[in-house]
């Protein structure tokens, strides 16, 4: 069971994450969008969306530091576990609260605005609860366990000795379930649900994260493109919602 949860399952999810994106890019570029609903409603969105997105970017930064920087590196820099923990918990709490507030506003908006709820797809209905669970568990870890000492970890739980080691081992293809033994339940669940989220990621609206317009900072303002480069006209591709009937071409004599 441990082998399945901490070795097989993560690889299934990560493979799905990568191959799913490749597949989506190859066959559904047209469906690759943030699917904004701002045209329908913008009052709640103008608060909820920036709160959520800036929050989640902070959370992402925290995860990059927490998972990829081994404890030994910060020790070498003379940063004690206690000080590291203090900074991580305080910044994490701010980012986490912003994220959750934003998400609650966005889900409330999605449910109560008829036009927005009308365009909520089946994948949204799977993705939002999953995202909500992952974020809620993350907040339990940061605030519950590490701030208030839930589960008897009065000094906070040192995930850098366990979860982070396991995660790095998975990514470097030396997987081992051992570092996760003894991890507290909320961290375990958070990691598992996060893996599941990564697994379904490419099939949901979350693909827009990989469309982050980084290149915009470097390109010239005006883009010219030649007609020749576009190639022959293509058949209409599948979008996230069918907007028209495919034109069936009459057969016979022309």
């Amino acid at each position: 069971m441990k082998t399945f949860l901490w070795i097989i399952f993560p690889y299934i999810c990560l493979t799905s994450f990568i191959l799913g994106h490749v597949w989506r890019y190859k066959y559904d570029k047209f469906g690759w969008t943030s699917r904004s609903s701002q045209l329908y409603e913008k009052k709640i969105l103008s608060w909820g969306s920036p709160l959520f997105h800036y929050g989640i970017l902070g959370v992402l930064a925290g995860h990059v530091v927490g998972l990829f920087v081994p404890e030994s590196w910060t020790n070498d820099l003379g940063i004690s576990e206690h000080r590291y923990h203090l900074v991580a918990v305080s910044l994490g709490t701010v980012a986490g609260v912003a994220t959750v507030t934003g998400l609650v506003l966005l889900i409330y908006r999605r449910r109560t605005t008829p036009s927005v709820f009308r365009v909520t797809s089946a994948t949204d209905k799977i993705m939002y609860p999953l995202l909500g669970i992952v974020i809620a568990l993350g907040l339990v870890n940061t605030i519950g366990v590490n701030l208030f000492g839930l589960g008897g970890y009065s000094g906070g739980y040192n995930y850098r000795n366990s979860v982070a080691v396991w995660f790095r081992d998975v990514l470097t293809f030396h997987p081992s379930a051992a570092p996760m033994i003894g991890a507290t339940w909320s961290f375990e669940l958070h990691a598992l649900f996060a893996m599941l989220l990564l697994g379904v990621w490419p099939y949901t609206r979350l693909v827009h994260v990989l469309a982050a317009p980084v290149g915009y900072a470097y390109r010239p303002y005006i883009v010219y493109r030649s007609r020749d480069a576009q190639g022959a006209s293509r058949l209409p591709r599948r979008g996230w919602e069918r907007v028209d009937q495919r034109v069936s071409v009459k057969r016979g004599r022309h």
Partner: protein, 528 residues
């Protein structure tokens, strides 16, 4: 000098009767789909009026287009790259549906499925956005023909600019129609705003398009465009815009809006321009100099130096020939009667307008004067400040002089042609007053009044080397039955021939024939 070709359009506003045929045919062709119910690539506005979306010209609010900063450099009015990226999660300057209008349909089914009852069943309006019954409060042309004025008209951003000085009272009321499509600008701020690089200007003909596969729905183009001519498809999550009917243009046919224009007021042709000079021209300090700056980068297609540079840039000979015969170049640069819409946005728009003389003529006639007399018209153009100032705010960044110049030319043409038509001796001083000769005036008259289909639309086809890609109906060429190793019936070699090419000559004959009988005769000849 880097010569590039640009498809341009000129609309003669005196001829627009506001029938909305262009809007309707455009909608049928392009935006007759879910997600773009509220979208009109072509719309016709009554001016004075709020426009569509409402008050889109108020750039203090919407912040579209470019501005010149203190160091004399152009930047997007909505801010630098970084500051706009900070606002990507909730674009504050995106018009909401209420600024356009909430599209609706009617519950027609009630009319036939309602049970027998005392009252006649009514088809209620149903929102196409949330599917619920709704109150219709606004549409794309709610203030058509000054409907609801002055209640609505008072909020016209252009009127606000000039009515600080003069109030628009009933006596001085004037009205004209303004058909609008995408401007296909030389310096498009929508393209510059697109974070994904999905929007581009085609290097062959300057048409501005959205790559639907690369658009990620960030909506920055919608706010970046000061004319609000990029729209967000709320179902596909992608930006869409006027395509200048490129599948038709590529085979030499005019756009749908131009083809179906009842008043025949649209002209389509080529401009040659110097792409290296665009930025400098768009950055001139005084906004009232922008009109001349814009004209200055358009190159004379008769100039041998320009032709040589164009050939060096790979522009084909038939395109250069089309540029020489271009009605839009003649109207904008030779006769200088066409003006760009809102040059102060610094996007170098390529849809030009001949401002209407009719408000002046009507005012003159209403006061008992002769509406076709040259001198009365000249005097009226100088006296009627409100219409002229209004037109100046639309076409010349507020400078009344160029507008007056155009109106005087149109007035001179009117007076001159009356002499000709009535067989009276021609008063040479009329033409002289606007710096033209009688021949020039008559040539302008022919172009504006009686130009035939092939004179109004001088559109070179895209190149034969790539004709295999030409296809009016995407995807259908490969579906032809004749596409088989044995060759099909009906088509010679079994090669797929795109429908557009196949029907091109027929369509052209149909469009250019003066009478249906001519066409039938020709067909008879062809068959025998």
């Amino acid at each position: 000098m880097r010569v590039m070709a640009q498809m341009g359009m000129v609309m003669n506003l005196d001829k627009c009767i506001g029938c909305h045929t262009c809007s309707v045919t455009c909608k049928q062709a392009w935006t007759n789909r879910t997600g773009v119910e509220y979208v009109w690539f072509n719309n016709v506005e009554t001016r004075p009026g709020l426009g569509y979306p409402r008050t889109y010209e108020d750039q203090d609010h919407w912040q579209g287009g470019w501005e010149r900063n203190r160091r004399g450099r152009l930047r997007l009015r909505s801010g630098g790259r970084a500051s706009r990226m900070m606002r990507i999660f909730a674009n504050p300057k995106l018009p909401s549906l209420t600024d356009y209008y909430e599209p609706w349909t009617y519950d027609y089914d009630t009319l036939i499925s309602a049970p027998a009852q005392k009252d006649i069943p009514v088809a209620r309006p149903i929102s196409q956005i949330d599917g619920r019954p709704m109150q219709i409060k606004w549409s794309a042309n709610w203030d058509d023909d000054l409907g609801g004025s002055p209640e609505h008209t008072i909020d016209d951003p252009i009127l606000k600019k000039i009515s600080k000085k003069i109030r628009l009272d009933y006596e001085s009321a004037f009205m004209f129609h303004l058909p609008r499509i995408c401007e296909h600008c030389l310096n498009p701020s929508c393209v510059a705003s697109c974070p994904s690089g999905a929007m581009y200007k085609r290097s062959e003909d300057g048409i501005v398009l959205v790559d639907q596969d690369r658009c990620r729905g960030w909506r920055m183009c919608v706010s970046g465009c000061p004319y609000k001519k990029v729209y967000f498809n709320h179902r596909t999550g992608k930006a869409e815009k006027c395509t200048f009917c490129y599948p038709r243009i590529e085979v030499g046919q005019p756009t749908v809006c131009a083809e179906t224009c009842v008043g025949r007021l649209r002209y389509i042709g080529l401009f040659l321009y110097d792409a290296d000079a665009v930025l400098e021209a768009a950055s001139v300090e005084d906004p009232t100099d922008l009109l001349e700056a814009q004209r200055s980068i358009l190159l004379d297609p008769h100039d041998p130096a320009v032709l040589a540079a164009a050939r060096a840039a790979g522009i084909a000979e038939d395109w250069l020939d089309a540029a020489r015969r271009s009605p839009v170049y003649d109207l904008a640069c030779r006769y200088r009667v066409a003006l760009p819409l809102h040059p102060e946005y610094r996007t170098m728009p390529m849809v030009w307008y001949i401002p209407p003389l009719s408000p002046v003529v009507e005012a003159l006639r209403d006061t008992g004067f002769d509406g076709e007399d040259g001198r009365s018209l000249f005097a009226a153009i100088d006296a009627l400040r409100i219409p002229v100032e209004y037109l100046a705010e639309l076409f010349t960044a507020g400078d009344p002089q160029p507008v007056k110049g155009v109106l005087r030319t149109l007035a001179a043409m009117r007076a001159h042609m009356r002499c000709v038509n009535l067989g009276e001796p021609v008063d040479a001083s009329i033409a002289e007053a606007v710096g033209m000769t009688a021949d020039e005036i008559e040539a302008l008259y022919r172009l504006l009044a009686i130009a035939k289909y092939e004179d109004r639309y001088v559109i070179p086809s895209a190149h034969v080397e790539i004709a295999g890609q030409l296809d009016e109906l995407p995807g259908c060429s490969v579906d032809f039955e004749s596409w088989s190793p044995h060759g099909g019936q009906g088509l010679g070699g079994g090669e797929p021939v795109p429908v557009a090419i196949q029907t091109f000559n027929l369509a052209r004959r149909r469009a250019q024939a003066d009478r249906f009988a001519d066409l039938e005769e020709e067909q008879m000849k062809g068959e025998s």
